[in-house]
Symmetry: C2
Amino acid sequence: MLAAMGEFDLIARYFTRPTARAALGIGDDCALLQPAPGTQLAISSDMLVEGRHFFADVDPFSLGHKALAVNLSDLAACGATPLAFTLALALPQADDAWLAPFSRGLLALADAHGCELVGGDTTRGPLTICITVFGAVPIVDGRSQALLRSGARPGDDVYVSGTLGDARLALDALRGSLDLPAPVLAAARRRLEQPTPRVALGQALRGVASAALDISDGLLGDLQHLLKASGTGATLDTSIAINLIAACADPACVADIISLKKQLECVLAGGDDYELAFTAPVPARSAVQAAARKARTPVTRIGRIDSEPGLRLVDRCGQDVPNRYGAFDHFA
Amino acid sequence: MLAAMGEFDLIARYFTRPTARAALGIGDDCALLQPAPGTQLAISSDMLVEGRHFFADVDPFSLGHKALAVNLSDLAACGATPLAFTLALALPQADDAWLAPFSRGLLALADAHGCELVGGDTTRGPLTICITVFGAVPIVDGRSQALLRSGARPGDDVYVSGTLGDARLALDALRGSLDLPAPVLAAARRRLEQPTPRVALGQALRGVASAALDISDGLLGDLQHLLKASGTGATLDTSIAINLIAACADPACVADIISLKKQLECVLAGGDDYELAFTAPVPARSAVQAAARKARTPVTRIGRIDSEPGLRLVDRCGQDVPNRYGAFDHFA
């Protein structure tokens, strides 16, 4: 802890960068962004609380990464191009050993996405991180290219990006309710602590996907929001979904460590994955694959949108699988 | 406490309004704002923590008001017209008796300024409120009309809006270190708990003021930021400033309850006032008064900008008064 470090020192030391894109960045009452004509500004805000969203002893570099990643994931789900973000931070004390790696993790991810820190607030208090992120979405022929939750239509395919369930495996192992071989835990833990926001995929899916959202609270629970917004239902194939859990494809991870039931639970309702779920019309299948290649992000087709409301799970033979999974809710 | 109320219920119940100005409000991953061509977007973020920024037993209506007011005050200091805001909220539990008045206080002030809640986050945790606010600043003949801290020039007048020091008087009384007559405390407490952001004044000062900032951390401390950004110094007349404390003009407030020393301390370094300090060239004096009348906000000329760095205090005879006041710093 640096007893002599004050609020303004702290901002200057850890968070001030030369302004590149913003018309005005840190140092005035407001930051000013001037989006180009014909552009919408996408905004998202997420708050992370110690003991709730992360362990007290979490690696600060990873925490800095994740705090921005969860917000970038929201931009990705909108198809927005990251522009800038604000950071509000409550800290028990101004501790260099914590702030230095935290700001490195945060700003490394910000730099990787050209997303500029333009302002915020710091205060003393229980460790709490609140980031608000801004991104641009083009308007083409008078129509916003934003990917919304409300655009899914019956017959559309349902896709997810990347892998699902590994973050939950890591969480269970760190809580002691599951034993994982060390290399498997290391890989899964990286997914939990340093998730990859699918920003390039979201942008590549503009004009291709009919609807999208990020599935940070679990696939099935979050997908319900998309179905509700679109006024549709969906049927998902659990035999495809179960292969999305990366850890269980590792030779070090013998099948009987993690039951099929547990694997399915992690994939369908694990949470903390920060992948995208999205829908697209059947004729767009090759365009979806082209977008995935362009974004260097694998995508998997796991089901279809139905006109009948509700979310149905089927096995490889088309037999119903009971859906016992709910989404994470902070106040339920 | 409503045990059955979940996160989405909570948002729908207390914070969802029909969307008016935003292209997309609550309910998707991102909110979308589409500022008019030739407009800059001003953004500010503030976090309030229980025990630090407010007492645990503070009236929730007032807290909702204040949480937005402190952000609107930043927009005001920029000369921005409020557009929208996001709210991130950590709560120990979803408690109707708290949430109902909190949201009423918040949204009443939002409605009064046409500032729309477009998104955010809720989570369980120690009571913490993080608001990020967005406002528009016009661009005229290619020049932004934003009021910055950096525009003050030697010879400019220095002004403050409204009254100063009453919030600090109330805080001292609530902490038990000062006795105030009940009607005086009630008025001062209203200034502490439901400050009035000077939004109309900020807009009226566009094109008139040379520099501005809000003085939430105390007049002298915050004014130093303006002087530093402008590369100037200033001289303030303490005999004018001391009259800015409204409570002490109340006949119920006998002079010997509050010493002149204490009055000056509250005015110069009290904090939590959310007034604007601004500068303007001498030939703009009548334009400043016209802006004040238009905004129905009193302003007082308290000094002048000097080319010599540093902040000097003088009495009515021009004699130096020692400056022993610092700004509030959360980590100092």
